[in-house]
């Protein structure tokens, strides 16, 4: 009955409903198309001092790679500087004079690359692209000439062969959405009833407290489950993300995580006094750690030990691991049961604490 009532609440509150269902989709699409660690058509300038056939070949190769777009061929060094400032060039390549001669005779060429490192990520990605283009060029040259041993660089990219950024952030988005909907909404809905006093009406009735809480939380769990399915569908069909593992297992993992984050929301609502407080505490105490400590934006391995320990306490970290394992690596239940257990135990502990807290209110 409380369940039905809560559904009516949600359905009547059209704005929230729209927000809860549309936001995740918008967020995934937005991030999917914007946050991309791939860079195409980066603006560069080439200061070619030799202008011979080899140097032209190199420049053509750079352009053909698709990563770069040569926007200017400066004639002096000071022009390079101007390009950086005026033409928004990310990188400049200086090809020394006598390029052909150096290649043919000395077998040793020094190319100078000037990068705009005001954006570190872009700079290092471009650097890597350029390196691979140059080693390509080197290979071609070796093959066509005297038959000197072509050297080879091979990198095997595992699990994310295209280095697609979608793989990185879809698990993160799912985690965030679930935290927002389940934890935030359930802490708000409970503290709202405490605030308006309708919770007192419910507690006076013969209904058991646990039913009141469960009845209130389940609709939000279902909502976030629907959102999650949407996100997964979008990432599979729009961004071509694979699901290597079992879909049933994936959904099961989602449900366990929802349980854990709903219990987090429950505990928060049992500790605070108002909706506003519930919102603030959820945002600061759960949302931020999820973004910063779940390992989907910033690698956990590089963090100080204390923060790594802290990350263990929040369910998000484990869920991100689970999602990546199931979706990308295709792990089965046998490989991941420990993480599932951790989330489950968290949920149990949190629910127990919050029920004790509500009971304490009565005794106090």
């Amino acid at each position: 009955m409380i369940l039905k009532k809560e559904f009516i609440h949600i359905l009547r509150d059209k704005i929230t409903l729209l927000l809860v269902l549309a936001m995740p989709i918008a967020l995934v699409l937005l991030l999917g198309f914007t946050i991309s660690t791939e860079i195409r058509n980066a603006r560069i300038s080439v200061y070619d001092l030799s202008k011979d056939s080899y140097s032209k070949e190199l420049v053509e190769k750079i352009i053909a790679s698709g990563y770069f777009q040569v926007v200017s061929f400066p004639e002096t060094e000071s022009e390079i500087d101007r390009d950086f400032k005026n033409k928004n060039v990310k990188m400049a390549i200086i090809i020394p004079s006598n390029f052909e001669q150096l290649l043919e005779k000395e077998k040793f060429v020094t190319l100078q690359i000037i990068s705009d490192v005001s954006d570190l990520n872009v700079a290092s990605i471009l650097n890597n692209y350029l390196r691979s283009v140059i080693s390509d060029f080197e290979m071609d040259y070796n093959q066509s000439s005297t038959g000197a041993l072509p050297f080879e660089i091979t990198t095997k990219m595992q699990y994310n062969p295209e280095s697609s950024s979608v793989y990185m952030f879809v698990p993160g988005i799912i985690t965030l959405i679930m935290i927002i909907i389940t934890a935030l909404m359930s802490s708000i809905t409970i503290s709202r009833e405490m605030e308006t006093g309708t919770m007192r009406m419910l507690l006076i009735t013969p209904v058991k407290k646990i039913y009141v809480v469960v009845g209130k939380v389940i609709p939000y769990m279902m909502l976030s489950f629907i959102s999650t399915i949407f996100i997964i569908l979008i990432s599979v069909f729009v961004f071509k993300m694979p699901i290597e593992g079992n879909i049933g297992l994936l959904l099961f993992v989602c449900i366990i995580f929802m349980l854990a984050s709903a219990s987090f929301g429950l505990m928060i609502s049992a500790l605070v006094k108002s909706q506003l407080e519930a919102m603030m505490v959820t945002m600061m105490g759960l949302f931020l750690p999820t973004v910063l400590l779940s390992g989907f934006l910033f690698p956990l391995d590089n963090m100080p030990f204390v923060f790594q320990l802290l990350a263990d306490v929040f369910p998000a970290k484990w869920f991100v691991i689970l999602l990546k394992d199931v979706m990308i690596k295709g792990s089965g239940f046998r490989e991941i049961w420990l993480y599932i257990l951790i989330l489950f135990v968290m949920a149990i502990v949190l629910i127990t604490i919050s029920l004790m807290q509500i009971d304490k209110r009565r005794k106090k």
């Binding site: 009955m1 409380i2 009532k5 009516i8 609440h9 009547r12 509150d13 308006t196 006093g197 309708t198 007192r200 009406m201 419910l202 507690l203 006076i204 009735t205 013969p206 209904v207 009565r362 005794k363 106090k364």
Partner: protein, 239 residues
């Protein structure tokens, strides 16, 4: 036959004693007024009687059930209504009554009949499907009251049921209370309006956690040698 029998009920919050060994009995069908200044301990006492708070010591028999051991039976047999804490604004009148009726375990078919019967009595059956948010405060209170007695409790607790409405609506509300009491339901009401206290069968006045005065309104006026309960209260508080 007493509906409420409170014995040495005490509640301490740390060093502060909110309710200090209060004793009183309320007869079946009585309208019992529970008066006191803000912070006198009325709400705390009422919360304990409704099972929202556990007493530090003492006991009470509510509707024939022991407060400590039979709190579930007590909950089934009491109704509660408050002006501040009442209904869900985004549910309709009918949905609100249906929700609480179902929680109290009234069978579906009978519940519908009861809801329409009580709404008819209040002459608001034509707006049963309006959202509570959209109806005037006076009506909300009547709906809340009807909801509180829908499961036919033995006792109904009213926590300042009429604050914030005009005298005419208050008078109508009290007519409703009289009707309900005449069916044998005990009414336990807190109020700040001294004219309302005159309508009660008996009243009590609390101060600093203790029950200082108890009796019929006439009896108290007589004892204090004044004309109205208002004067009784003022005189009492000044002491």
């Amino acid at each position: 036959m007493y509906s409420i029998n409170v014995e040495n009920l005490t509640k301490k919050f740390g060093d502060f004693t909110a309710v200090d060994h209060i004793n009183f009995k309320v007869k079946k069908g009585e309208i019992f007024g529970f008066l006191g200044a803000n912070g006198a301990g009325k709400t705390t006492a009422m919360k304990m009687m409704c099972g929202l708070l556990l007493p530090t010591s003492g006991n009470a028999i509510i509707a024939g059930y022991d407060m400590h051991t039979q709190s579930k039976q007590i909950r089934k047999n009491i109704g509660y209504m408050s002006q501040k804490f009442s209904l869900y604004n985004d549910l309709s009148i009918f949905e609100n009554m249906q929700l609480f009726g179902t929680i109290y375990g009234i069978p579906r078919k009978e519940l519908k009949d009861r809801i329409y019967a009580s709404l008819k009595e209040l002459k608001i059956d034509n707006i049963a499907n309006s959202l509570v948010d959209s109806i005037p405060l006076g009506w909300k209170q009547r709906v809340a009251f009807a909801t509180a007695i829908l499961h036919r409790p033995q006792i109904v607790f009213l926590d300042e049921p009429t604050s914030g409405v005009d005298p005419i609506v208050r008078r109508e509300f009290w007519n409703l209370i009289y009707e309900t009491a005449s069916t044998g339901i005990t009414i336990f009401v807190t109020t700040h309006y001294m004219d309302e206290a005159e309508y009660c069968s008996r009243i009590s006045i609390m101060s600093n956690g203790q029950l200082k005065l108890i009796g019929t309104p006439d009896d108290l006026k007589h004892r204090m040698g004044v004309e109205s309960i208002d004067e009784v209260f003022v005189k009492f508080v000044q002491r």
